[in-house]
C-alpha cells in the first residue's frame, strides 16, 4: 500500500506544482483527443443517423462493417495508419507521422465506429411509437427527421462520452503513430507506460489521477445534460 500512497502523494505534489513534463502530456492529450473527437462526431453523427434512420440497399452490410470496425484491435488500427502516413505510404507526403494530427487521424478511426454504431442504435431504438406520434401531429419528412434527431440527443451525448473515453485512454495507436516524443506527442497514456517502465510510478500515478478526473468530469457533464434536457 505504501507504493500507492507514496505515489499518490508525489502525484498531488506534481499536479500542484504544475510540473511542466506532466502537463505537457496533458496538453498533448487534450489536443489530440479534441481533434479526434471533433472529427469522429462530425463524420460519425450524420453517418450513424443515416444508418439508423434510412432504409437502403446494403444497409445491413454497412452495419456489419461498422460493427467489425468496433472490434478491430487498436494495434491493427495503429499499424494501418502507420502504413498510410509513413514516408512510403500513400499519405506520406503529408508528413503526419509522429505528429499530433497524425495521432488524431488514428484515434478518429477508433472513435468513428463507436459514434456511428451508438448513434445508429439510438435512432433505431427510438420509441417506435414516436414515428406514428410525429406523423399524426402533422410532421412532414424533414420535421420528422429533426424531431427524431432531437429525441435521440441523450444517446448521442452518451456516444460522444464513450468515444471520448476510448480515445483519451488509448495507448497503442498513440505510441505507434505518435512515437511518444517528449514535449511533442507524448500523451498521458504513453507517458504512463513509459514512466512505469522506468520505475517512475509517481509520475505515472499523477497522470493516471488526471486522466480519471477528466473522465469523471465528462461523465458528470453528460449526467447533468441528461437531467436538464429532460
Amino acid at each position: 500500500m505504501d507504493f500507492f500512497s507514496e505515489g499518490f502523494a508525489k502525484a498531488v505534489a506534481l499536479i500542484l506544482a504544475l510540473d511542466p513534463e506532466t502537463f505537457s502530456a496533458v496538453w498533448a492529450t487534450a489536443g489530440v483527443t479534441a481533434l479526434a473527437l471533433f472529427a469522429s462526431l462530425a463524420l460519425g453523427l450524420p453517418l450513424g443517423f443515416g444508418l439508423g434512420y434510412f432504409r437502403f440497399p446494403g444497409r445491413r452490410a454497412a452495419r456489419l462493417f461498422v460493427d467489425w470496425m468496433l472490434s478491430l484491435p487498436t494495434v491493427v488500427i495503429g499499424l494501418i495508419v502507420y502504413g498510410l502516413i509513413s514516408s512510403r505510404g500513400p499519405l506520406g507526403e503529408w508528413g503526419l507521422l509522429f505528429t499530433v494530427p497524425g495521432m488524431a487521424l488514428g484515434l478518429t478511426l477508433l472513435g468513428l465506429p463507436i459514434i456511428i454504431s451508438m448513434t445508429a442504435t439510438a435512432v433505431e431504438t427510438t420509441d417506435t411509437r414516436l414515428t406514428q406520434t410525429l406523423l399524426s401531429l402533422g410532421a412532414d419528412r424533414w420535421q420528422m427527421l429533426i424531431a427524431t434527431l432531437v429525441e435521440a440527443r441523450f444517446a448521442m451525448a452518451l456516444a460522444a462520452a464513450s468515444a471520448f473515453g476510448r480515445i483519451v485512454s488509448e495507448v497503442g495507436i498513440a505510441m505507434m503513430v505518435g512515437g511518444n516524443i517528449k514535449w511533442h506527442t507524448r500523451t498521458i497514456t504513453t507517458a504512463i507506460a513509459l514512466e512505469t517502465g522506468k520505475g517512475e510510478f509517481a509520475t505515472g500515478i499523477a497522470l493516471g489521477v488526471i486522466l480519471m478526473l477528466v473522465a469523471l468530469a465528462v461523465n458528470l457533464l453528460v449526467g447533468l445534460l441528461r437531467r436538464r434536457a429532460a
Binding site: D127, T133, L135, S136, L137, A139, R141, E151, A230
Partner: protein
C-alpha cells in the same frame, strides 16, 4: 365545405401472412363497403380486440393506405398522389393513438410542438387552456418533465396536445383507457366542447360503452373487420 367529411367506398385493408406461399390470398382485417361520416358528428367505434377499429382509425388518419377502395375526405379522393403530401391531410385529421407517446420534453413543449410544426404562434394562454380542457392545471404541469407524469396524466397531455391544434377531425383511440372517473368526465367535456365550439368531427374507439354512448351520436359495432351494426344506422351498411 362538404357536409360529409369522410366517404368510404369498398375499403379493404389486407396483409400478406408471413411465410405464406406466393399467390396465397391476403388476410383482410378490414372490409367496409360503404361508410359516410357527417361533418361535426361524433362517431363511436366498438368491438372486440382485432375487430378492425384501430385499422379503420389509421385509415381515417391517413396513416395507413387501404389495399383497395376509395376514400374521400371533404369531397376529395385521397389517392396515392394526395398521400404524398399526407402531412397536410394529417394536419386536418389528427389522431391520438392507443399508445400515448410524448416527446422527451416538458409538458408545455409537448403541447406546443404541433403548433410549431404548423408555424402557428405559441402562447402560454393557449397551453393553459388546452391543459384546463383535460383537467390539468397550468401552474402544476406546464413545466413538468414528461418523465414525471403518470400514465393517465401523459394520456391527458397527449390529448391536450391535439386539442390545442383545433383540428377539423379528431380521431381518438381509447382516450379514456387508464383514466379515473373524474378524468374521463374531463375528456368527455373536452370532446363535446370541441364539437360544439369548433365543429370538430370526432371518431372515437373505446371499450367503455357507457362513456362512449354518452358522447357519440352514432356507435358502430365492428366484428372481424366489418361494421355489423349501427346504433343510429347513420350511413353505414
Amino acid at each position: 365545405m362538404n357536409s360529409t367529411i369522410y366517404s368510404l367506398r369498398g375499403i379493404e385493408a389486407c396483409y400478406s401472412e408471413p411465410g405464406a406461399a406466393t399467390g396465397a390470398a391476403d388476410a383482410c382485417v378490414l372490409s367496409i363497403p360503404t361508410l359516410d361520416i357527417a361533418r361535426g358528428s361524433i362517431v363511436g367505434l366498438v368491438g372486440h380486440n382485432g375487430s378492425g377499429k384501430s385499422t379503420l382509425l389509421k385509415i381515417l388518419g391517413f396513416l395507413l393506405q387501404p389495399t383497395t377502395g376509395e376514400l374521400f375526405f371533404d369531397g376529395t379522393l385521397v389517392d396515392r398522389a394526395a398521400l404524398r403530401a399526407g402531412h397536410l391531410l394529417r394536419r386536418r385529421a389528427v389522431l391520438l393513438g392507443q399508445d400515448t407517446c410524448l416527446l422527451k420534453r416538458s409538458v408545455s413543449s409537448n403541447i406546443a410542438y404541433g403548433l410549431r410544426l404548423r408555424g402557428l404562434p405559441v402562447t402560454e394562454n393557449l397551453i393553459a387552456r388546452a391543459l384546463a380542457q383535460v383537467g390539468l392545471s397550468h401552474a402544476d404541469y406546464s413545466r413538468r418533465s414528461w418523465q414525471r407524469l403518470s400514465g393517465g396524466e401523459a394520456r391527458r397531455v397527449a390529448l391536450a396536445a391535439r386539442l390545442v391544434l383545433r383540428p377539423e377531425v379528431l380521431l381518438l383511440d381509447e382516450p379514456t383507457a387508464g383514466l379515473d372517473r373524474a378524468s374521463t368526465e374531463h375528456v368527455k367535456a373536452a370532446v363535446l366542447s370541441a364539437r360544439q365550439n369548433l365543429g370538430t368531427t370526432l371518431v372515437i374507439v373505446s371499450h367503455d360503452m357507457p362513456w362512449l354512448t354518452s358522447c357519440a351520436d352514432t356507435v358502430l359495432q365492428m366484428d372481424e373487420g366489418r361494421i355489423v351494426s349501427s346504433q343510429n344506422e347513420l350511413g353505414a351498411s
